[in-house]
């Protein structure tokens, strides 16, 4: 066998292939990488693991590793497709919100490892009389998405060792019973990724801001006189969701 074939076949074996290389102890490497794959996913998807339990999570991790395989040299990147892969896994029949929870876990990890812009406070002085000539800057490291499930409450509850004892758990249970979902905003506080539920109005606003409209287009001409806007803006600045303003030329 030539070197290229040996290397390809050995990797195929590591990913669960049935053709065992003709070399004794090859399985030592397979056990090793499977353990690493499990640890990488466990680290990236703590809420998913808490929801399904260690045994089912291990099965999920191995299924994913064998099917999707590893494509990057960095274990922290392994599992980026896990949330969408889970949708078609049989476990989603039992826990239909698992994919959205995985998505939230993934976004939290991503926010923690991405460049997260600082607020440029001075830039807000650019906001003048003409609101059609300036815009607010949304943090490029920010994540948000809609879910038909109460993902933020589920995520919050499972930060506890005893999720059933938390208010978030009770809230999630109530919302699932009523078929209500949540919109998740994922931001960074210090180095830590945080998630919170935001209203439909707020997520629609963030979606609009991502398209970089002028302040007038996004909020209306008279917005600076509205106290709820300044309160909202202060809250968004404190979370570094809005990180500055700029003029449009």
């Amino acid at each position: 066998m030539n070197l290229s074939d040996y290397q390809s076949q050995f990797l195929a074996f590591l990913f669960g292939g049935t053709n065992k290389p003709g070399l004794s102890n090859s399985e030592v490497y397979r056990f090793g990488v499977e353990a690493k794959a499990f640890r990488a996913l466990e680290h990236s998807y703590p809420t998913v693991k808490a929801l399904v339990g260690p045994a089912d999570f291990e099965e999920l991790a191995l299924d994913y590793f064998r099917m999707v395989r590893k494509q990057s040299g960095d274990w922290s990147e392994f599992g980026w497709g896990f949330p969408s892969w889970i949708i078609s896994h049989r476990i989603s029949d039992r826990i239909p919100y698992l994919s959205d929870v995985a998505r939230l876990d993934h976004h939290v990890g991503r926010v923690e490892r991405s460049h997260y812009q600082e607020v440029d406070f001075e830039s807000f002085s650019m906001i003048g009389e003409d609101l059609s000539s300036c815009q607010l800057i949304l943090n490029s490291g920010l994540q948000f998405f809609r879910s038909v499930y109460p993902v933020v409450s589920i995520w919050e509850a499972h930060k506890s060792q005893t999720p059933q004892d938390t208010l978030s758990f009770a809230q999630a249970k109530r919302m699932i019973a009523k078929g209500r979902g949540q919109n998740a905003l994922i931001y960074r506080a210090g180095w830590r990724g945080m998630a919170e539920a935001i209203s439909e109005k707020d997520i629609a606003l963030l979606e609009r801001l991502r398209k970089q409209p002028s302040i007038a287009e996004a909020f209306g001409e008279g917005v600076l006189n509205q106290t709820n806007f300044t309160g909202w803006l202060q809250d968004m600045i404190s979370k570094r969701v809005i990180v500055g303003a700029r003029t449009i030329h």
């Binding site: 030539n2 070197l3 290229s4 040996y6 290397q7 390809s8 050995f10 990797l11 195929a12 590591l14 990913f15 290389p21 070399l23 004794s24 102890n25 090859s26 030592v28 490497y29 090793g32 990488v33 690493k36 794959a37 395989r69 590893k70 494509q71 990057s72 040299g73 960095d74 274990w75 922290s76 392994f78 923690e112 490892r113 991405s114 460049h115 997260y116 180095w191």
Partner: protein, 303 residues
């Protein structure tokens, strides 16, 4: 083929009798609270490949006061496939961020194509020591050195499988790579010992000594010491870096120092981590071994 004169050597500040330890997430807080009493810290490069975040910020901060040795585990320098640009780009960004004293990785493969697509094996996978393997390793090492604009060092690995055919023994293979690329070597004493033990070599200490004797001593840039969890005689010993350096490891280290002279030495401990204090205690043992051996050597020098 590489040209030794083209390669910029590693930063020269690191003294030959310096001792460092591996920095792992469990000890981040300790390092931030108290300046480490070691000469350098080693980190696994890929753990700091992120664009930003706590690990990256911590490493940047620590690197201001403590020299950093970047030790990769994923480059797969022995792969037939070229190391992907994306990997090299992230490594270069990290090198630029922390200005390490040493950049290193292992003599193994990790990348391969299955059905035309490139995958990563996630472990230090052994290669046969053939002329074909040699050419691919040389190509990848050359490519990495050119991309980074500096010398890298490569480490001997534990191999749990044996190949039917080799054109070189491991030391000769490493020497050939050094001659062709101008790279440095990391001598992992524990890996040599584990291979000797798993290969059921009759006299492991002699095996280690012969191995070291055969290496190009001038290329050895760093020595690695580690421990492996003991197993029953019939079981395979795994290089898990989960316990202190064994007595046999310290003895071998002493003999290596006598043979090649002092070299920067790293204590590796990756699993079942001890307290930061205990880990630094292992570094102190390495320093004492160096002092003992080198004092004895000097006392034997002719006047």
């Amino acid at each position: 083929m590489g040209n030794r004169q083209d390669i910029v050597p590693a930063r020269p500040e690191l003294g030959s009798s310096t001792v460092g330890v591996g920095l792992r997430p469990d000890h981040y807080q300790d390092v931030l609270e108290h300046a480490p009493s070691v000469d350098f810290l080693e980190v696994h490069s890929e753990n700091f490949f992120a664009e930003a975040g706590i690990a990256v910020d911590l490493l940047k901060e620590v690197s201001v006061t403590t020299p950093i040795s970047l030790h990769g585990t994923s480059a797969g320098l022995g792969s037939v496939e070229a190391i992907p640009d994306d990997y090299l780009k992230k490594l270069k960004r990290l090198v630029d961020r922390v200005d390490p004293i040493l950049v290193s990785d292992h003599l193994c493969f990790t990348w391969a194509r299955i059905g035309g697509r490139l995958f990563h094996g996630g472990d230090l996978l052994p290669i046969p020591y053939t002329t074909d393997s040699l050419q691919h390793a040389v190509n990848n090492i050359d490519r990495m050195q050119q991309y980074l604009g500096r010398q890298i060092s490569i480490e001997n690995v534990c191999a749990y499988i044996e190949f039917d055919h080799n054109d070189f023994d491991e030391a000769a293979f490493l020497n050939e790579i050094v001659a062709r690329t101008g790279c440095g070597l990391i001598l992992d004493i524990n890996n040599v010992m584990v291979n000797a033990r798993n290969g059921k070599v009759a006299e492991p200490a002699d095996f280690v000594d012969r191995y070291v004797e055969s290496l190009d001593h001038s290329a050895i840039a760093e020595i690695h010491l580690a421990g492996s969890t003991p197993v029953d005689a019939e079981e395979l010993l795994i290089d898990d870096h989960a316990c202190p350096v064994p007595e046999a490891g310290w003895h071998a280290y002493g003999r290596v120092l006598r043979k090649i002279g002092p070299r920067p030495t790293l204590i590796e401990w990756d699993n079942n981590l001890p307290s930061w204090r205990e880990l630094q205690g292992e570094a102190t043992k390495a320093r004492k071994t160096q002092r003992r051996v080198l004092r004895r050597e000097r006392s034997h020098e002719p006047v």
